[in-house]
């Protein structure tokens, strides 16, 4: 084992240091996880990390643009066999305009979502997927300075993408719908049935737990946000049911749905402001609800399987 010579002794032993740093790290984790007390630390560190982040994502962005360029070229060549020679001559200009049109379409697609609500959202560029294999998050290029706040819903042209969970100075993290345990209150378009969709932790799949076997849910049904949570505005597309498994042996049906939004492949998303809070619940009922919540504060998500 390593033991410094006494005449070269420098401070506490490695083991003492390890113990100290490990304790500090664990304390930090608890403070961050349980109390969310370290937002200022995170913010200031994110300012430090920001320029490096930008610099590091440049090559990737350029590569992305290159691949875009080449796939578009492929398609054009197929479509315009007889103009092949001409296209090759003018391909550079043509590709760029194609890309611009695509982007404009994307942005226009988002506009209807905007008109549905009183105050408008802001469009943010998706910078990269969060580099954390344990969670499903994306990082967008709008932050505290642009007015993004934790809890804001994030949508794309066809539906809900997720929710802002951590805000940096110039960037924010959006937890995707598919993140395990990320819940959205939803409503079935066909018959108004209310439910809660939650992420499955798998790519492109949501679960709708706690729906009784008798519930009227069919394959292909559309879920939209119900808006009763006061976080998501009502009427945003959430998911389409892809499989309903009703087994009489279980209390609940097993329902899997596919997110409506391109949760994993967007270049632009829109951050919506949190809607105006609903009027407070009647006092007596609120008390009752609190009591019930105290008995079962979190609920257990995975029973009945």
């Amino acid at each position: 084992m390593y033991e410094p010579l006494p005449f070269f002794h420098r401070g506490p032993s490695p083991l003492a240091r390890l113990t100290f740093f490990a304790l500090v790290a664990i304390a930090l984790m608890i403070a961050d996880h349980r109390f969310g007390a370290l937002e200022t630390v995170r913010l200031s560190l994110s300012v430090l990390a920001q320029p490096a982040q930008r610099a590091a994502s440049l090559p990737g962005e350029m590569f992305g643009r290159m691949t875009d360029y080449f796939t578009n070229q492929d398609r054009l060549l197929r479509e315009n066999q007889e103009l092949k020679v001409k296209l090759l001559e003018q391909s550079a200009a043509a590709q760029q305009s194609k890309l611009l049109v695509k982007e404009q379409e994307l942005l226009l697609n988002m506009a209807p979502g905007k008109s549905r609500y009183t105050s408008d959202g802001m469009i943010a560029e998706v910078l990269y997927n969060a580099r954390n294999p344990f969670v499903r998050k994306i990082v967008i290029g709008r932050g505290l300075t642009q007015g993004v706040r934790p809890g804001m819903p994030v949508i794309d042209g066809s539906g809900v993408v997720g929710q802002v969970t951590t805000v940096g100075t110039f960037t924010s993290e959006v937890t995707l719908l598919t993140e395990k345990g990320q819940a959205v209150p939803v409503m079935l378009v066909r018959n108004g049935l209310r439910a809660i969709a939650s992420g499955s932790g798998k790519e492109g799949a949501l679960e709708v737990p706690f729906m009784p076997v008798s519930a009227d849910i069919q394959n292909g049904d559309q879920f939209v946000t119900s808006g009763i949570d006061g976080t998501y505005p009502p009427g945003l597309g959430v998911a389409q049911v892809t499989s309903v498994e009703k087994n009489a042996a279980f209390v609940f049906a097993r329902i899997v749905a596919k997110p409506a939004a391109g949760v994993d492949n967007n270049r632009y998303v829109m951050v919506l402001p949190t809607p105006i809070a609903a009027p407070p619940a009647p006092a007596a009922k609120a008390d009752e609800r609190n009591k019930r919540e105290r008995i079962n504060p979190k609920g257990s998500r995975r029973e009945g399987r």
Binding site: F21, H33, A55, P133
Partner: protein, 177 residues
Amino acid sequence: MRAADLTPVARDVMKRPAGLGFIFASFVGAYLLCAMPWSGWLLLARPDFVLLALMFWTLHEPRMIGQGAAFALGLLMDVGDSMLLGEHALEYVLAVYLAQVFRVRILTFRLPEQTLHLAGILTLSSFVLVLLNLVLGADFPGFAFLLSPLFTALLWAPATWLLYHPSVRRRRSESPS
């Protein structure tokens, strides 16, 4: 059989210290490599360049880089990788501690054996990270997470070439013999 070998245990005891600027630059470079937009399967297999640089300087410049630097860099990585503050810090501090404990032993070996030692240390510390996340309720990411420490260890030889040999080369060219 090296019965009459009188070489000192650590062969680099008289090495000239690396400049602080060079160390700092290596960390910046490592952070940039880590901050590239890795995703999906590649993210699980991403070599931890920052940890690699940390291990290198812990072994070769133990007076400058130790657990304090590991902790600070770990926090920075936590922010960059959107993890809980302290996860990477704990991982790095543990890895650097192991490197400090086995430093003299590791440095007696040549690069292949050093790589093996590194693989062991890095795998152990990455287990800590996965365990932490499992405790926090994440799903098991699959055994692909073992690829990351493996790739990091495989980069040990290139890293040594990149970080160690410039100073040696410079010294050789400066020395009169």
